[in-house]
Symmetry: C2
Subunit: 205 residues, 2 copies
DNA sequence: ACAGGTGGGAAGACCGGTCTGTCTTCCCCC
DNA sequence: GGGGGAAGACAGACCGGTCTTCCCACCTGT
């Protein structure tokens, strides 16, 4: 048998998913990440997930006991990949001082808002889709609080007074600018950044 | 025949709905307003709507050709009842100057956040639930733009410079504080109000 | 004043489709 | 030969939406 005939449905299915990862769970996660982050979690069904990742339904449910457990895994990956390795580390890289790092968050946001596939913050979206009482809503709230913790840490490095209050105010600006960007205001990040400048000024001793 | 025996299912159905409005369409709207505003539009089905409003399915579809048309009607009522007669008119009533009226928005927000049934801004919620491309998402964006128009009008009364930019920035604060309040930050309105003070200051001449 | 027609509404069966989740069948590869 | 995975049928619930059946209140004609 020639090698081309050996592989019936698996390779092109992998190509559909991500043209890469060999293991089923990786392909499922890659597809879930793309669909959930761009279209939300309620709009994406299990059937579509398994079809797009080229995986059998039984395989899906062997790795994830329920759709919700996949959403939990997605939120965790979103936190690692997008929050940590995406926004926060990039903001820290750009600013030479803690103050500049805080403001750089909105520079990164501004570029993020221009992306084709920009579709709002997944944590805010899941929280509103499922409600704050639902376990998935609670998890989203926890990840948002984690972001606030990091902002607060940078604020402490900057020597700002009342760092927790500062972080809560800055997250209002972050969330508000994201929502406004969904509406189509492409300059939302600039506006929020300007208000962040004033906010930092009033927390500097 | 005694009067009690005359009325078989209609009155208690009205009591279930709102204990008031006689006409079917009013009861449907009352139930839809409560359920949609507290739980979102995707989570509430037609069957639940007709059951809670004590109305037949055929009656529902005689008044509303589809569920989406009811959601459109809900958004319009939300704009009239909540935005106009609720937040904006109350804010205008409280402040004696345009500047105070702008800041009073956040005082009204602060009290709104404390309500039992507070469950986020319906326009933002529908926009994220349906996506900004969906007709219902578009309608939500239009209503948010209408709110911005009113804020801009008050800003012009106040003689603020660049009133449109001001209004867009203030709406970032409004939306951000609402999202943060959903997470449980009960002081989100105060924080946003403080930032609004700085924002007004920088737009005053 | 009363009989009969009429129309709106309640109740709910029903339709096709979709959802999550289970289970069977087959096949390929070790 | 045995196990994992692909394919997909299937179950049970629910979705939005249509349609039938029955009943009751009101209007009309005599």
């Amino acid at each position: 048998m020639n090698p081309e005939a050996k592989v019936p449905a698996f390779p092109e299915a992998a190509a559909v998913a991500e043209s890469g990862p060999a293991h089923s769970v990786d392909r499922i996660m890659a597809v879930a990440y793309e669909l959930f982050s761009t279209r939300g979690v309620r709009d994406v069904g299990v059937n579509e997930l398994i079809e797009r990742s080229g995986v059998a339904k039984a395989t899906f449910y062997r790795h994830f006991p329920s759709k919700d457990s996949l959403v939990f895994a997605f939120l965790e990956q979103r936190d690692k990949q997008w929050t940590m390795n995406g926004i926060l580390s990039e903001a820290r890289r750009r600013g030479s001082t803690p103050q500049e790092q805080l403001l750089a968050i909105f520079d990164v946001f501004g570029e993020w808002f221009l992306r084709e596939d920009f579709e709002a913050c997944s944590f805010v979206r899941v929280m509103l889709e499922m409600g704050p009482a639902h376990p998935l809503g609670q998890a989203s709230i926890d990840y948002l609080a984690k972001i606030r913790g990091h902002v607060q840490a940078v604020a402490e490095e900057a020597g700002l007074v009342r760092p927790e209050e500062f972080a809560r105010s800055l997250l209002i600006l972050m969330k508000g600018s994201v929502i406004q960007a969904v509406e189509g205001d492409m300059l939302a990040a600039e506006r929020a950044r300007q208000m962040a400048v004033w906010l930092i000024g009033h927390h500097s001793g």
